[in-house]
Amino acid sequence: MSDQDIRKAARHVSQNEGLIFELSSPGKAAYQLPPLDVPMVDPAEALGPENVRAELEGFPEVSEIEVVRHFTRLSTWNYGVDTGAYLLGSCTMKYNPKINEVVARLEGLANAHPCRPESLAQGCLRILRDLSKALVEITGMDAVTVQPAAGAHGEMTGLLLVRAYQQAQGNPRQKVLIPDSAHGTNPASATLVGYQTVSVASNSEGTVDLAQLDRLMDSEVAALMLTNPNTLGIFERQITAIGEIMHSRGGLIYMDGANLNALVGVSRPGDFGVDVLHLNLHKTFSTPHGGGGPGAGPVAVKRILEPFLPVPLLRENADGSLALDFDRPQTIGRVRAFVGNFGVLVRALAYILANGAEGLRQSTEDAVLNSVYLRQLLEGAYELPYRAPTLHECVFSDKKQARHGVHTGDIAKRLIDYGFHPYTVSFPLIVSGALMIEPTESESKQELDLLADALLAIAREAEQEPETVLGAPHSTRLRRLDEVQAARRPVLRWKPAGRE
């Protein structure tokens, strides 16, 4: 396979660039402060000589053009959603609309200090109110907190609510049930809230094994943490029966909303027995992933959990004005300073406004259409370990390619040469050699066809010329990185020459 056969991408020159520290030399500057309009104070006199530092050792001294070129060059070494399809399963790398960025930067919102008196922050509070209402409608729940900063933070918040609720019933209980297909954050969050985690095996369909759930569910289980559709992209068909098992024995259902984008406008967690869920606004609601954050992880709950929500909670006064309510005796407390990741919440609301009910539903439909279409094109070339119908994502395995010594990680690296950001590698853990692919609704038919062609070509390469795949990527500025060396001898910061 030569470069000419790769239709989506071509090589182009990229600039080399050192570390910002390596561009530094004394006397260069990229800043100018306005003249000081008050008498200048001597730091040693004001703070005491013992409290003053001599210099910021090692800090860069560079000019503005160097800063601009430095970070521009770095940016060209990245691949973003705006570059092309970004197939990370469960991460929902959908298009980030540009109007969202504009409104989040409006003066009056971007400059608002979080400690402003409520009477001067009514605009911010109305945004929170309008977003909260929309999220309640979309999820079919009763109330929401927008304070959690990310999905995992939402999980912790949700489980604290579960625990507070169970405590109020007389026993906080000891265990949380987690399917073996779940994200690693689920057990980590449960531990943080003081629960033991018990793994629930998946059945041959890839869904929760009801008989096993029935055996495991006892009076010491506080909740089941369920991702629905699960990380295989499969909807838990037995959700009503799962709800009966849990609720009849005093347990709750926590839903990890990472895959809510498969359901918006089609089915609501509040209507299928979920008691509490977190939403990843950076997934379903299009806020940018930012290279790994910031996100936001609002938590929506049924009425029974509302008294325990974190403070402050948004409250509407009789006169229609909005306030932050701190007087909530049963609250689990505060999970973050101030009101939450406001700038992310603004973007999510802009997305909901742009779509409306119809647009949100159509986005869900297209996300599923794209995923199922891709599954159809790839079946045969790649092993599909679970054959149940899938929604927004599907998980293949590298079983066929592994016979030739090619594994999921190698296929991913080769996909880079074809101009795509790879899928999620080796997750979920219940599939050996997993390729977890989520195209989202943002991909056109043309992009999907190119992607399918690329994955089919790689499947052929794996058989005919496996070394091409094993040596990939061939087109990037750096070849495969030595991750073992990075972990064995960690170098986690730059140091000046001679002081490493």
Partner: protein, 441 residues
């Protein structure tokens, strides 16, 4: 819908390929009894001008001020124009966690530079790739200290940001850890004799903030000596890292963590912000969150990748050092660009301007007959006693388009009537003088 790149005919072709008669069929795996039968009550989709109009109206409802003297964990410093231009490169903001290092070197190198800058700023050996914010960096630091020494009691200054302490209490409520609060002295610093009384062999960490919530600089070497004498770690929280442009870094600490919003992240009504966590090298394997390390590729060229991931939830699940999944990469990038633009001299100069403005304002308060509540040394914030709780004064300030300081009574009942003010380099002398004049009349 304008974000969806498909024509009706393409949808039909795709359905045909799949072998489905309708879109509805794609959802057959969802049982009919849990399907939504009516459209969501969210109205129609809106155009860009309508969306802009909605948010402009909300911004206008916020009442525009000309000067704001609030700090308390969120600081207004000038953000250079290059900063927003650069973070708007969509290869940065539309990327995700750099799982594939060969096509994520931009993010990875920027984080490596961020980690280096945080080490240089704080005097620590290693820094992680960032956490959600300062308030969550506190429990992450405390849990890290407990992993390091296995002890179950933490003593914390009452002068640590009250909302950070509230978040800490929330995180620790099911961890079987005791929290002891140490009062503040007349200087505003941690009461050292009270600390001495509370120390013991069961103390995991001493937590102090500097400059603390009242703006007062703490005596880090003395507190470190107390902590270390009992075998405890010293955690220093920093909510205003611009102070480190002139303040001596807390090199005696074991963990230095806090909020880096003040270095280039918009106030944005409280978030997104960016927590930082730096530590002594020996604690690196107890650290929470992502770390970027330097390595080489197959040709021997320098490159960067995520490393030491065996601490993290996606590998360790319930045994992970934290449940945190990603970092706050874009905000950390803002910090990196901000610190690169201001650099070695600029951050120092900015810090001196802050100090000078605050000194000037304090002098004016004194001249107006007001009294600073604490005698300790301060950076860009201080507390004035006995001038709060006067609605008429607030109204008069607002007439002049000024938002004054933060009333402390709701956080500290004993400080009812005291007000916390912040003066950064963005504070103009005229507005400062106006503020003081109205407040001291």
């Amino acid at each position: 819908m304008r974000y969806l790149p498909k024509s009706p005919d393409e949808r039909r072709q795709m359905l045909q390929k799949i072998g489905c008669a309708s879109i509805e069929e794609l959802f057959d795996s969802i049982p009919p009894e849990v399907r939504l039968r009516t459209p969501l009550a969210l109205g129609r989709g809106q155009s860009e001008p309508e969306i802009l109009q909605y948010f402009r109206a909300r911004a206008a409802e916020n009442t525009r001020e000309e000067a704001c003297f609030l700090g308390a964990g969120a600081y207004d410093h000038y953000r250079p124009a290059a900063l927003d231009a650069l973070i708007s490169r969509s290869e940065f903001y539309t990327a995700y966690t750099p799982y594939q290092p060969e096509i994520s070197q931009g993010t990875l190198q920027a984080i490596f530079e961020y980690q280096t800058l945080m080490c240089q700023l704080t005097g620590m050996d290693v820094a992680n790739a960032s956490l959600y914010d300062g308030s969550t960096a506190l429990p992450e630091s405390v849990l890290m200290a407990m992993r390091a020494n296995g002890r179950r009691r933490v003593v914390i200054g009452r002068s640590v940001h009250p909302e950070y302490r509230q978040v800490l209490t929330t995180y620790l409520q099911h961890q079987n850890i005791t929290l002891d609060e140490i009062p503040y002295a007349e200087s505003g610093q941690m009461e050292e004799t009270a600390l001495a009384d509370r120390m013991g062999a069961d103390v995991s960490a001493v937590v102090v903030q500097s400059p603390n919530f009242f703006g007062i600089v703490e005596d880090i070497p003395a507190l470190a000596a107390r902590a270390h004498a009992a075998g405890a770690l010293l955690i220093v929280m920093i909510a205003e890292p611009v102070s480190l442009g002139i303040l001596r870094p807390p090199v005696e600490a074991d963990i230095v963590a806090g909020e880096a919003q003040s270095c280039g992240v918009p106030l944005s009504f409280g978030g997104p912000y960016v927590g930082f966590l730096a530590a002594r090298e020996k604690y690196v394997r107890s650290m929470p969150g992502r770390l970027v390390g330097q390595t080489t590729d197959a040709d021997g060229s320098r490159g960067f990748c995520l490393t030491l991931a065996t601490r993290e939830q996606h590998i360790r699940r319930e045994k992970a050092t934290s449940n945190i999944c990603t970092n706050q990469a874009l905000c950390a990038l803002m910090v990196t660009i901000f610190l690169s633009v201001y650099g070695k001299e600029g951050l120092r100069e900015m810090a001196i301007h802050n100090l000078s403005k605050a000194r000037h304002a304090a002098e004016r308060f004194r001249q107006g007959g007001a009294r600073l509540r604490f005698s300790g040394r301060y950076f860009n914030e201080f507390v004035v006693a006995g001038i709060g709780n006067r609605p008429r004064v607030k109204e008069r300030l607002l007439e002049q388009k000024i938002i004054g300081g933060l009333e402390l009574g709701s956080y500290y009942p004993e400080l009812d009537g005291s007000v916390l003010f912040c003066f950064t380099e963005t504070a103009g002398q005229e507005k400062m003088d106006q503020l003081v004049q109205i407040m001291t009349e």
